[in-house]
């Protein structure tokens, strides 16, 4: 059957692209080359699927939504941390092979799949949401839109962990035990800025969660596919609160007298 597009005379060009995909497991691996027929509008994940269907049935890759909504398909494409489903082939240089490798800050499981379980453990470490008593008898609260705009921005996170992948504190210095990474600094910030929340996580941020390790390089913000202002809108305000709470003598005095 001819596609409706060709019936309408729209030209859909096809070209062959060389892919270098990292294949391997916990013990190591290497790049393998594949040639893929690429048509207009294809994204990197489509090419990986094509390889999987035709040339390597056992190529391991994570994906779900194909629309940048679930944060499953994170990888390093030509060395840049990206979502495979949102990276169009026509946005990559045409004159050299496309390399696809797993996120390097996490242990490899197989091919493009990494062990991200550390992230799930870090989240559990953060004190959960604790709302004040409801404002109304039906159990609801009054919150103004302008008071939740910032929290909503931070809650757009799809947990792709690309920011964790790129942060040098984790990637180069492996401070996984002392530092929760940009995703969870921001998660803490979203809880702290929630108008209904009554919990205090500032001491934890400073101590076991290691906010001090962040030196505001903003690499995390640059890779975030949701364009969340991770550093400016979350980490820096939290750093300020840590400073206020721990180093400002006046605040400390108030803390002593403030009934908690």
């Amino acid at each position: 059957m001819a596609s409706p597009a060709s019936q309408n005379g729209i030209h859909e060009s096809t070209r062959t692209v060389e892919f270098r995909v990292w294949r391997g497991d916990r013990s190591g691996g290497a790049f393998t080359s594949y040639s893929v027929q690429v048509t207009q509008g294809m994204v990197v994940l489509d090419c990986i699927h094509r390889i999987q269907a035709d040339q390597a049935n056992d190529l391991a890759v994570r994906w779900n939504c194909k629309a940048g909504k679930c944060g499953s398909c994170s990888a390093e494409i030509n060395g840049h941390p990206k979502l495979m489903c949102m990276t169009r082939m026509d946005a990559l240089p045409a004159d050299r092979p496309v390399t696809v490798e797993p996120m390097r800050s996490f242990p490899s499981i197989r091919d493009l799949v990494t062990d991200v379980s550390w992230n799930f453990r870090m989240k559990r470490r953060i004190k959960p949401f604790k709302p004040r008593k409801p404002d109304h008898a039906d159990g609801s609260w009054t919150m103004m839109q302008e008071d939740v705009d910032r929290v909503q921005e931070l809650r757009k996170c799809i947990e792709c962990f690309l920011c964790q992948d790129v942060c040098h504190v984790l990637r180069d210095h492996h401070k996984h035990d002392e530092f929760i990474g940009p995703r969870f600094l921001m998660y803490t910030a979203a809880l702290e800025m929630h108008p209904l929340d009554t919990e205090d996580r500032i001491a934890d941020l400073k101590q076991e969660n290691g906010i001090g390790y962040c030196n505001i390089t903003k690499c995390c913000t640059k890779v975030c596919p949701e364009h969340i202002g991770i550093t400016d809108n979350a980490i820096i305000p939290m750093k300020e609160r840590v400073v206020d709470e721990f180093y400002d003598p006046l605040t400390r005095l108030f803390r002593i007298f403030k009934p908690r």
Binding site: A5, G41, M42, D58, A60, A67, G71, R124, F129, M144
Partner: protein, 606 residues
Amino acid sequence: MSLPDSFIVHEHDVLVIGAGGAGLRAAIEASAAGVKVGVICKSLLGKAHTVMAEGGMAAAMGNVDDRDGWEVHFADTMRGGQYLNNPVMAEHHAKEAPARVRELEAWGAVFDRTKDGRILQRNFGGHRYPRLAHVGDRTGLELIRTLQDHGIHQGMEVFMEMTVVSLLKSGGRVNGALGYDRERGRMHVWKAKAVVLATGGIGKAFRITSNSWEGTGDGHALAYHAGAELMDMEFVQFHPTGMVWPPSVRGLLVTEGVRGEGGVLRNSEGRRFMFDDVPDAYRNQVAKDEEEGWRYVCGDKNANRPPELLTRDHVARCINREIKAGRGSPHGGVFLDIAWIKEKIPNSSAHIQRKLPSMYHQFKQLAGVDITSERMEVGPTTHYVMGGVLVDGDTQESCVPGLFAAGEVAAGLHGANRLGGNSLSDLVVFGKLAGEHAAKFAKANRAIEIDPAEVAAKTAALEEPFARRTGENPYAIQSQLQDAMQDLVGIVRTHGEMERAIGIIEDLKQRAKNVAISGHREFNPGWHTAIDLGCLLTVSESIARSAIDRKESRGAQFRDDFPQKDDACSTFNMVCRKSADGSMEVSRRPLPAMRAELKSVIEKMK
């Protein structure tokens, strides 16, 4: 005889299969009841289908229009479902959804707000008043993240990237599940006193779908093979607006929220064709002209909705008709235009980006289209299955003792057609009920031992594909099945085509027994596809067989050979069960009786 050491054995009171909205809500409820809970999911936590939901969740809170209430929501749901819904479920849903939404807020969800600081609600097809609580167009993310972040502190044990391949039974009761982990390919046995299925939908049975690889109808198949009944399987919702271009994103959903915010449908001649065909049941709820439709979008309480916001089955068929009549867009869809609202409001570009941020990005990044200034091309896509496991409306228990189901895998709430937004509310209302009753069941019943012989036989069948050196490619069989379902059991159906589909399915069932897999058991997608294939075949067969036997057009089912609704068919649901010889048996089940009080609610709202 006991299980070999190679099996990893877990033990819980309640085992929840699936970690979308329904599964997580069930697990939270069961944990709160004080029993030991396990949750299994095929992907990482937080990645289930629910995360993709966009438009919102329906709950008659009346925050935007105080004429709304449970009775209106109930009547809308029944009308949308063409009265094949289980009224008991529709009543629970309409009455309890508002409390479930407020509870999400208590667990940290942050919905968009009204001017006076309450939860904002938006218009959606088939809902009389603005009813959908939402967060921009990422409501599903908010829902699943809230449940996930609350759930991980309630003591449940989560098994990520594991797939259940069979339910285990003894003495007629469910007593556990058998599955494998993707990472290593090891076999697991979960012993449980009660099991909740919350496995979502079946979209992958069709070529064009908004569903991800997970939507292979596993729970439907697991339940069927364990002796439960599947009801209403002929009712598959084709969402009217999926992307049609580029080819690799064909089927990806374009939220109904676009139309809720004023988006209109036009054909290649520029005509707003939805005005041309308004069904009688909705005639007095639809705008007379474009001007009235726009007033409705702006919140004028005296205006009726534009015809683009009629139910999905109807809009999908109208689009299909325009395309077939040669009035489609260049890539075989029709035009959806939100950019036109610049004639009506200042700063429309910023407005659209704020109201529909992920649609804006989706089109910009994947299709190179700026929806604030250009038209989108859209066409129908397989989206949701109304049919599923037949459950008791008050407890969500199936006919197999100890086996419960909630969410998309369960049938009953939506009847012949689901209203947009009624799924997310379904998940939390019935997830909670299922969790509560599964916990009750687990407390009232002793654990029963599993049978190692049953486990051994089922495991051997799974491993066969590795032993074959040559054989069928599982991807090829899957794609032939998808083509058959798309072309022969799709939006417009006939007896002859569906019989052909049955023939193809029977043939593919034989070929599926002969698939060969290369490589090893660790994270091997070829093997996983081979396993999912069995589920897809079962589900496809039940869709086709139920559709053949419903000889009328109603809701999501349109039969070219029986184009009218038939009153004689308004008295039963189709039910499939596995007969003693292993073949699929299809029968008609009389509709459950409706209480007089509910009948009068429907009359009042007509």
